[in-house]
């Protein structure tokens, strides 16, 4: 796999927000690589920096509060953070498209869904209004909504259908990379299943790369090829689906899996991770997870854990693996 085939490469990305003279460390030294046709799942609790990472791919981190401190974001080899406003506009929607979290608020209430889908086509393809609307109709049918409904307004659709419309908007210009920011969080489970099925179908029918942001490991198992676990702005463990699901190494990853209900043993109590995600303004020194970690050692509160590559695909940042590649959690 040569570098040219990587749709997205994020290298050492650090993003901060400055709010009332306090610095919020939203994302720190994040590295993500997504090859064409693959899906990367970014998993973490609320406030872990997932959305910030996603927004920096489009260079849409809200200013003036947000600031990209360092790092590179390469979309098909082009650095997004260095791009001119014109290049950015040409890229947004055309090469990289985003599906937002809440379909209720990500559609403009006073424009028909057809017009909203057509907007992207009109901006990037320079076609007539009529052609753009025709294209919108095809897209709507592709996501399973009758084309005749394109002249209706968002409030006339159900939540799941709205999310399909949002997906159709994102797909309007056939992007190379789709960012889905918790696309199913606001939906109920049956609709979730429909939307996930749609996403899987899209994945199979195109070579589009996808960044799937979620906090639901079930979705990751269904859709993703590789996974990054994010905690307090850092990716603490990253690997293929098999690496993470069958051979997880980081205590935080373990905690996430332990807090899922077990379908075979319904009487078992859930084991939530004790404590809360730390205040990103005032991160604990050393490993940000150490106050909640049952494996914590003295050095955890002192030094930043090193990143250890366990295989070509799997890496983990934890003091447990400083000297060994053996799984320290098996006990």
């Amino acid at each position: 796999m040569d570098a040219q085939q990587n749709m997205l490469e994020i290298k050492d990305l650090t993003v901060e927000y400055v709010v009332d003279d306090e610095v919020v460390h939203a994302a720190t030294e994040v590295n993500i690589t997504i090859p064409a046709g693959k899906t990367f799942g970014l998993v973490g609790e609320t406030g872990a920096g997932k959305t910030t990472t996603a927004l920096s791919i489009l260079n849409l981190v809200p200013t003036p509060a947000g600031r990209i401190v360092s790092g590179e974001v390469l979309v098909k080899g082009q650095d997004v953070l260095e791009a001119s406003p014109k290049q950015l506009r040409a890229m947004r929607g055309n090469q990289v498209a985003m599906v937002f979290q809440d379909p209720m608020t990500s559609l403009n209430p006073i424009k028909t869904v057809g017009e909203q889908i057509a907007e992207g086509v009109r901006i990037h393809r320079g076609v007539s209004d009529k052609e753009a609307l025709g294209q919108a109709k095809k897209l709507l049918e592709m996501v399973g909504i009758p084309g005749g409904r394109m002249s209706e307004y968002p409030h006339q659709f159900s939540g799941g259908m709205k999310q399909r419309v949002v997906i159709a908007m994102a797909l309007a210009c056939d992007p190379d990379l789709l960012i889905a920011d918790e696309p199913t969080t606001a939906l109920d489970v049956t609709i979730q299943a429909q939307v996930l099925k749609l996403i899987r179908e899209l994945k199979e029918s195109s070579r589009m790369a996808m960044l799937m942001i979620t906090h639901d490991l079930g979705i990751v198992a269904q859709v993703c090829d590789s996974v990054g676990i994010m905690y307090a702005g850092r990716i603490v463990e990253c690997g293929t689906l098999a690496d993470i699901f069958d051979d997880l190494r980081h205590p935080y990853t373990r905690g996430l899996f332990d807090s899922l209900p077990d379908i075979e043993n319904r009487r078992a109590e859930l084991k939530p991770i004790p404590g809360l995600i730390p205040d990103p303004v005032d991160l604990p020194p050393g490993c940000a997870f150490h106050p909640r970690c049952s494996y914590a050692r003295p050095e955890c509160s002192r030094d930043l854990p090193p990143t250890r590559w366990l295989s070509d695909t799997h890496h983990v940042s934890c003091h447990l693996y400083k000297d060994t590649a053996e799984n320290m959690l098996s006990a």
Partner: protein, 315 residues
């Protein structure tokens, strides 16, 4: 909006349907659905009796203003001086009586409505245009842009409307166009504030970010996504400020800087009639009532629209 497909579902009649015919039940019902928001708002508006009264009074005044040339001929009646018939009280031939030069007051009121409404409404559209651009930019960009624009607007807000308009007219002469520009500019700071506040409440919506994420330019986002969603408060302010603008025109005309006689205007009718007010009160009552009812109607209408369009005030 693209016409929906007439192909329909299986079982629909295959013959080519005439235009506006609906081949499926779904399309048939869709026609009703589309109107639902506007229709619901209209029903909510109708429940507000005073607002409906305002709308009716204003419609009557507007119709009268539009049909003024047919109600009374300008040269033959409105500006025709007939000293023999001066200062007559209301009668069958002169419903509102005649003024100090023997002109029919009713005819002058009717033509005055045309002048007031035309200038008032155009002036407000001038200030709306300025307000949409400045307020839109200030609200959307925030930060320094916002500070610079709004501090400049604050400076203008310190001056009373009439004084600002007066200064502009005194400097550039009192033609109708200057009057429109003067009033338009003196009201634009207020519109900028209203538009800015509305834009700020809309700009953080996710659909604005979504528009940005598909590569739309800022001016496209402001014009097509942000401003259309601010329409409610803007309509209300337009209605209320048209009333204010009409008052300002009357005030300027009263002090002799607005519409000049012999062109009839409510303010200058009051001014020229005031010397005869003690003995012939009808001469000032008529234009006074005209101003009163116009302002009242617009205020009732504006308040009603506010209640209709702002769901937070729903009781």
């Amino acid at each position: 909006m693209e016409a929906t497909s007439t192909a329909g579902r299986a079982g629909a009649p295959p013959a080519a349907p005439p235009p506006r015919a609906f081949t499926t039940k779904k399309e048939f019902y869709a026609q009703f659905k589309k109107k639902s928001i506007a229709h619901e708002l209209w029903l909510r508006f109708l429940k507000n009796r005073t607002a409906v009264a305002g709308l009716i009074i204003f419609s009557v005044i507007a119709i009268v203003a539009i049909t003024a040339p047919w109600i009374a001929d300008y040269d033959a009646v409105v500006t025709k001086i007939d000293i023999a018939a001066r200062l007559q009280p209301p009668s069958a031939s002169h419903w509102f009586g005649t003024d100090e030069l023997g002109r029919d007051i009713l005819a002058r009121i009717v033509h005055g409505a045309q002048v007031s409404l035309l200038i008032g409404i155009t002036a407000i559209f001038v200030s709306l245009a300025v307000g949409l651009v400045l307020g839109g930019a200030a609200g959307y960009y925030g930060g320094k842009t916002d500070s610079i624009i709004m501090r400049a607007m604050d400076v203008f807000l310190c001056l009373p409307d009439v004084l600002l308009a007066l200064a502009i007219i005194a400097a550039f002469g009192n033609t109708k166009l200057n009057l429109i520009i003067a009033i338009g500019l003196s009201f634009s700071p207020k519109f900028s504030r209203v538009v800015r506040a509305a834009v700020m409440s809309v700009r953080d919506n996710e659909y604005v970010e979504a528009a940005r994420s598909i590569g739309a330019r800022d001016h496209r986002i402001i014009a097509r996504h942000v401003l259309p969603n601010c329409i409610g408060p803007i309509i209300v302010q337009v209605t209320l400020y048209v009333a204010n603008a009409i008052l300002t025109i009357a005030a300027l005309s009263f002090i002799g800087l607005g519409i000049q006689p012999p062109t009839p205007e409510w303010g200058n009718m009051l001014a020229s009639g005031r010397t005869f007010m003690r003995d012939f009160p009808h001469i000032v009552v008529a234009p006074g009532l005209a101003i009163f009812f116009t302002i009242l109607a617009l205020n009732l209408l504006g308040d009603g629209l506010r209640d209709t369009l702002d769901p937070r005030l729903k009781h």
